[in-house]
């Protein structure tokens, strides 16, 4: 990248006009400096302002959430209106079941699609799939929920954990596919060739050498995707639906933390409001634990062979 510089004019004796110009230049330079300083201050202000909401949200979550947390929260079932106490044991278990279901759907498809994208780098179909998976990634989660309802709830006639898990899993596919593609892409070609030269078939090379080498990065990407869907509410409204009772059946409606936080938050009862805060705190904590594990997995990423 070269920048065009104005051609240098030959040195001349300064004329009157030029002298006046240079005085004006000094004056405007001062002004320009002040403007610059002001704008830089504005940028700093923007940075502070951008971080503030996060601090507020976390502050409230901690103060209001921790005070409502108790052992009962993790072990007890929700109490009916009017009775105090109770917990969200079923919602916590429900969220974990939904995460498991979503992973069972989203991980294989996502990793497979990612392998395809990495191995067919320039192909037309690969470019199309890559573009569409980015588009799918931006699809509103409520639309995914409605699709899952139409597809899995309406024909059966009742809400189910399975439908919720499928909706969440479908949301994971594009995220997992893109990280898999990226991680497989950074495995050196020389490793693939070394395996082929040993008489490995293509599928064996891909699975037992390339994918294995990229696995740490893919695990990280999968965990990030799980962290993102763990807090989703909208896709569950008409699929998993929520359940006041203990249920681990995949065919029955199931409770989930985000759903409980939602219904408690819009309820008129103070006791439920504090449960909502506690639920939100636990949900955030869950997401953070998953993200932290993901960071840890990244750190253990393989060192490439060949020693660059």
């Amino acid at each position: 990248m070269t920048t065009a510089t104005p051609p240098m004019s030959p040195p001349l004796r300064p004329t009157l006009r030029q002298r006046a110009f240079s005085e004006r230049t000094v004056r405007t330079l001062k002004r320009r400096r002040i403007v610059s300083g002001l704008m830089l201050a504005v940028l700093i202000g923007a940075a502070v302002l951008a971080v503030l909401p996060l601090i507020f949200i976390f502050g409230h979550l901690l103060t209001l959430g921790v005070s409502s947390l108790s052992w009962d929260f993790f072990t007890k079932m929700p109490k009916p209106v009017g009775e105090t106490g109770g917990g969200l044991a079923n919602a916590i278990v429900g969220t974990l079941i939904l995460i498991g279901l979503a992973s069972a759907v989203g991980l294989p498809v996502g990793v497979g699609a990612g392998l395809y994208l990495a191995e067919r780098k320039g192909a037309k179909l690969a470019n199309g799939v890559r573009f569409l998976s980015d588009v799918l990634n931006g699809l509103p989660s409520i639309v995914m929920g409605i699709f899952a309802w139409q597809f899995l709830v309406r024909p059966v006639g009742h809400f189910s954990a399975l439908a919720g898990g499928v909706a969440l899993g479908a949301m994971m596919i594009p995220m997992v596919a893109r990280t898999t593609e990226e991680m497989v892409g950074i495995v050196p070609v020389s490793l693939r060739e070394a395996a082929l030269a040993l008489g490995y078939s293509r599928w064996r090379t891909s699975l037992s050498v390339v994918l294995r080498t990229a696995s740490a990065g893919i695990v990280t990407g999968a965990l990030v995707a799980i962290a993102r869907i763990a807090g989703e509410t909208a896709p569950l409204l008409f699929t998993a639906f929520g359940n006041q009772f203990w249920s681990t059946s995949l065919k029955q409606p199931i409770s989930a933390l985000p759903l409980q936080v939602f219904s408690y938050a819009i309820s008129p009862y103070d006791a439920w409001h504090s449960l909502a805060w506690a639920g939100a705190l636990v949900l955030i904590a869950l997401i953070f634990i998953i993200s932290l594990v993901a960071r840890f997995a990244t750190r253990a990423r393989f060192a490439t062979g060949g020693g660059d």
Binding site: G122, P188, S190, L191, E193, A194, A195, L196, A197, L198, G199, Y200, S201, R204, V209, R212, T213, S215, F302, A303, T304, G305, G306, G307
Partner: protein, 277 residues
Amino acid sequence: MATERSNLQDDVSLMTRHAATIEAPPRMRVGSLDAYFGSVHAVKGVDMQIRDRQVTAIIGPSGCGKSTFLRCLNRMHETVPTARVEGEVELDGRDIYARGVNAIAVRKHIGMVFQRPTPFPTMSIRDNVAAGLRVIDGAKWSRAETDQIVERALTRAVLWNEVKDRLSTSAIGLSGGQQQRLCIARALATEPTVLLLDEPTASLDPISTQAVEELVYELRSDMTIVIVTHNMQQAARVSDSTAFFLNGELVEMSDTSAIFTTPRDDRTEAYITGRFG
């Protein structure tokens, strides 16, 4: 005294080897081989005979098609997108490019070692060496048998003494030279007929280079070796016959001693005397 005797032995083995090669058919025979990358014609009409239990060196300036030629010998060339091969390559009289021949099966018989060491980073030293065994059809070895094969391969690659106490550690912990010898051991473990070496010492320090060269010299006693090198001294040190490539063509091939002392072609002479390349 001792050196005299070993010299004598060398001479004797050299003579017997020559006697053998005169009678035995070549291990590999290449007939009018052309290789392309897309529209680039990288190897042009090469004919060559590769003799058994010898080291054949391929030299030439960079970009002359010598690595591409080598990769045609075990059908690795076609793994690159847009790459194409025409012509014949025979291994023990069978064309490996004939219809119905499986490239993967070919590669199990013709081992290859690359310019940069390529140990599998997720595998231990032991698993690296045993990696090729896992894909041999219809063969299963017990752990003890595998250990035996691994030990023999590492011993032949002159690496056993350095790694025998840490076979289960990652191969990434080895030095560059050790990694390269590990890759040779990995290729030897499946007992290939032919071993192809693509500039195996290009990324190594002088001491590791010497270790690999000595190893190549040793290995010829029971296998066929083809080595691509940009280093003429290396070719002179380790090989029995040498082929000179230029612009994708095989300019000249003969006994190593002959090619470095009395080249027939002017271009060969220009190259080995350092006038270009």
